[in-house]
């Protein structure tokens, strides 16, 4: 089974990298760009066929290691 995990800075927490990229895009003339948020994209191969177990374990992985829930949100998708 393949899992895709997305980690982003929480909406109410300043993302300095996102703000810098937004500024650069404006300088380039892409005036339509609003807020930019930078995050992480992780691909995990899971050696299991049990979807419920995979979801439970992924939640634990995200809470404990993959995201810092003080400042980050996460979501994941499972395939296969």
């Amino acid at each position: 089974m393949k899992a895709t995990v997305y980690v982003t800075i929480k909406q109410n927490v300043l993302d300095p990298q996102g703000s810098a990229v937004q500024g650069a895009l404006h300088t380039m003339g892409f005036e339509e760009v609003g807020k930019v948020r930078i995050g992480k994209y992780l691909e995990l191969e899971l050696d299991t066929t049990d979807r419920a177990e995979a979801e439970n374990n992924l939640k634990a992985m995200c809470e404990k290691l993959l995201a810092n829930t003080v400042i980050e949100d996460y979501r994941f998708e499972l395939e296969g």
Binding site: V13, L14, P16, Q17, L65, N68, V70
Partner: protein, 231 residues
């Protein structure tokens, strides 16, 4: 009094911390590798700066699961003195020993220069040799020192006197909330700070204002243990 300096793969201020203990308080000090599973011999534990595990994923995120960290958590619960400096601060927040998190500097730059700090709480085991509100000169060297916590946590930090150091007003180098440079846990025996006191122990290094953090720890330990000055 016995000090431990924890060493992770990628730590790079471990030698500075070790030398600072030798130079400032002259107490026994050991390097302790991240795989160690017993810290019972130590009274104070220094978690040094650097780039543990290459700062992969997030600063401190992987180091926090090193075997030695469960011992650090145990030592914190026993009331031993734990000081996390720079990456050490990041590791202690990731480990949940200190509240909040360190974000990327507001200006995105790695800032490496001396900074003026205000000693906000001189009642801790780490700051008892400073005057209240004293301004001290301690260098920083970090790209991710922008302290963040939510409103409720901030109110708690203030109510409990857990804000130990602030950057001097108008000289916040990284955008951290309320100019916070260092905090303690509720019990006061765990402190994390972005500036490097171990780099400020001699005028040759530009400042010796960091020296008194180490003498504070020894002083607190002696008071607690009723120990006479024996070296």
């Amino acid at each position: 009094m016995k000090f431990a300096v924890i060493v992770f793969p990628g730590s790079n201020c471990d030698i500075d911390c070790y030398k600072a203990v030798e130079e400032t308080v002259g107490q026994p000090v050991d390097y302790v590798w991240h795989t160690a599973t017993d810290l019972s011999a130590y009274d104070a534990i220094l978690v040094p700066g650097g780039f543990s595990y290459g700062d992969y994923l997030r600063c401190g995120a992987i180091a926090r699961f090193a075997p030695v960290m469960s011992e650090v958590v145990k030592a914190a619960a026993q009331g031993k003195y734990i000081l996390g400096i720079c990456n050490g601060f990041q590791i202690l927040t990731e480990a949940g020993l200190l509240p909040g998190a360190l974000r990327r500097n507001e200006g995105l730059k790695f800032r490496c220069h001396s900074t003026l700090l205000e000693v906000v709480n001189n009642g801790t085991a780490f700051t008892n040799q400073y005057a209240p509100g004293e301004i001290i000169d301690i260098p920083i060297a970090h790209g991710e020192g922008n302290y963040y916590c939510d409103e409720a946590t901030l109110a708690e930090l203030k109510a409990n006197g857990q804000i130990v150091f602030r950057y001097k007003a108008g000289a916040n180098p990284n955008g951290s909330i309320e100019d916070i440079a260092g905090i303690s846990n509720k019990a006061g025996n765990v402190v994390g700070m972005m500036p490097h006191p171990e780099r400020a122990i001699s005028q040759i290094l530009g400042s010796e204002d960091g020296k008194r953090m180490f003498t504070s720890i020894l002083n607190a330990w002696r008071e607690k243990n009723g120990a006479a000055v024996n070296g």
